[in-house]
Symmetry: C2
């Protein structure tokens, strides 16, 4: 399989070129060519939301820049955390005088570079707070939640803190809210086939035919175990207790639901998976609220999906429903309910 | 590669189950279980917009049901046109007393079944007009446009007639407008690797390693020729004259642009492709207006993309900008421009 690239060394720059050319009414390059920002900045006096991440997982994170979500993204090389000075540029670019919340999906390189960027920003007199995000139940046992990896359930944090920052919440309030969303979120992934590296043109890992890896991370990190489930429904029924019993989610809880494709799994299949997720939730008496299905956090054309749940409260629900104007985040409400 | 299905015979029903379970605030099943409709109908006295299509191409068409776009979709089996009686159900479901526009992407089975459905509907006293859509420049030579296949450029028709129907345009006006959009639209596709049939689990066609088929249709139909272009930019530069010179699009024209992924091509690559499209348009003096990039009309995980252009006029531009509330169509405007 061939990849549609020009020079691999220019891949990230070419991608950003193509993005700001297509969506220039919404996003633009910042002062640094590897930082993408909102075309029209958030009003002064509001808290900025910044993130740095390796590229190759699109549409996250550059696709989620816009009113109601992110202010600036430091775009790293493919699958590589952006360096501290680049993350610092994203912090600067999102500062509107009321401090910056730096979202950090918990992977070793991202955490180290973010911590250094925060130090550099504070040395410049900027007010910035990092928020570590971790939701993958397969990456560390219960009781050691803070050792877990960031996974697609971080979507809930982006959306919720993005909405409340737009409305004027303070930095302290956003740190508390983002921590609450994170602590109420659990994710488990299933990988069926590897993606292809856009740098080498080769599969990113190998996986025996017919096996499914439960718990694989967004870069192919190992997880819980492999299974040979035959159907979508059997696979979901294998996964859901790992998620539900970890928080635990209990009868009567209302939850946000994300069924996320890893890139190479069709929407048809993701909808079939969602059917099984909804069935298990109903059996458990857990009540879904405006679920989201699609390929938002990808690893090139890796085949597979993840299931994420977040226990709701009123503030989280309102923030989930709030409008967002990002090129690649979309969960509309009925216009005239 | 494995597919996430349960029983292949239940695949389409399972998909619809999963869809209406996730997006039940926006869509629901109609009176027939294979027809998906808006949860809240369009007001009476507005023209309904209906379509029947084979499934396996999601998010089109069931993902585009919602205010400002489609009213009802007859969901066929995988890659198979829905039978006339099912298309009739979609026509009935979208009738609000002012007639129905039935959109038909030009493929043999879809056209025959749509014509029969129109006859059946008229025999019941319903007012319905079919609109044949064809935009693939590779499928018949210039001068025989009406023999061409429907391709992803039909997206422009869906969006534009959907917006104007919502605003109250008459059926005659919508037929004229839809025809104008179709006649101003041209598409060319490039296929890099086949998708896998969800029914058989096998690749849907074969393609020599390193070759790219120009002009492949959405079911793998043959097109212009195969090429061995080395980079995204070279491939786009091979394709653009076929599109631009066919209408032709001329210096000073404003155009809608769609770079559509076939399913297995990453957003990163599609953005790189868009960069090249934008460069060629600039060289030609053709002016893009709020382009759209993403995987909207897919063929399972087929790798490849298409480029579609539509020459704008003021009515088309306003309709492109109009709000839409469908689960899987999204092209936001800046909230406060």
């Amino acid at each position: 399989m061939r990849k549609l690239v020009n020079d691999p060394d220019r891949l990230v720059d070419d991608m950003i070129d193509g993005y700001v050319a297509a969506y220039g009414d919404l996003v633009s390059r910042g002062d640094h060519p590897r930082v993408v920002v909102r075309r029209r900045s958030k009003p002064r006096g509001r808290v900025g939301i910044a993130i740095g991440n390796g590229s190759g997982h699109e549409p996250i994170a550059l696709g989620w820049i816009g009113a109601g979500m992110l202010d600036a993204n430091a775009v790293g090389e493919v699958f590589a955390a952006p360096p501290p000075d680049l993350v610092l540029e994203a912090i600067r670019a999102s500062d509107r005088g009321a401090g910056v919340l730096l979202l950090v999906s918990r992977h070793a390189g991202d955490v180290i570079n973010a911590e250094m960027a925060v130090e550099l920003a504070r040395a410049e007199g900027l007010r910035v707070e990092p928020l570590l995000m971790y939701d993958d139940v397969s990456s560390a046992p219960k009781g050691r939640e803070e050792d877990r990896r960031g996974a697609p359930g971080t979507t809930f944090v982006y959306k919720v803190v993005g909405a409340r920052a737009e409305e004027g919440a303070s930095l302290d309030e956003l740190v508390a809210l983002g921590s609450r969303v994170r602590d109420a979120t659990r994710t488990l992934a299933a990988a069926l086939a590897p993606g292809v590296s856009p740098l080498t043109g080769r599969p990113m890992f190998s996986l025996p035919e017919g096996e499914v890896f439960l718990g694989m991370g967004v870069h192919g990190e190992p997880g819980l175990r492999s299974v040979t489930s035959a159907t979508a429904d059997e696979l979901v029924r294998e996964m859901m207790p790992e998620i539900l019993d970890d928080l635990p989610f209990e009868r009567g809880d209302e939850v946000l639901v994300l069924v996320n494709g890893m890139g190479g799994t069709t929407l048809m299949e993701l909808l079939v998976v969602h059917r099984s997720v909804a069935a298990v939730l109903e059996e458990r008496g857990v009540v879904p609220y405006r679920p989201l299905v699609g390929s938002f956090v990808t690893t090139q054309e890796m085949a597979g999906f993840s299931i994420s749940l977040c226990r709701l409260d009123d503030e989280i629900r309102r923030a989930w429903d709030a409008p967002v104007r990002a090129p690649f985040f979309h969960r509309p409400e009925e216009a005239n309910p």
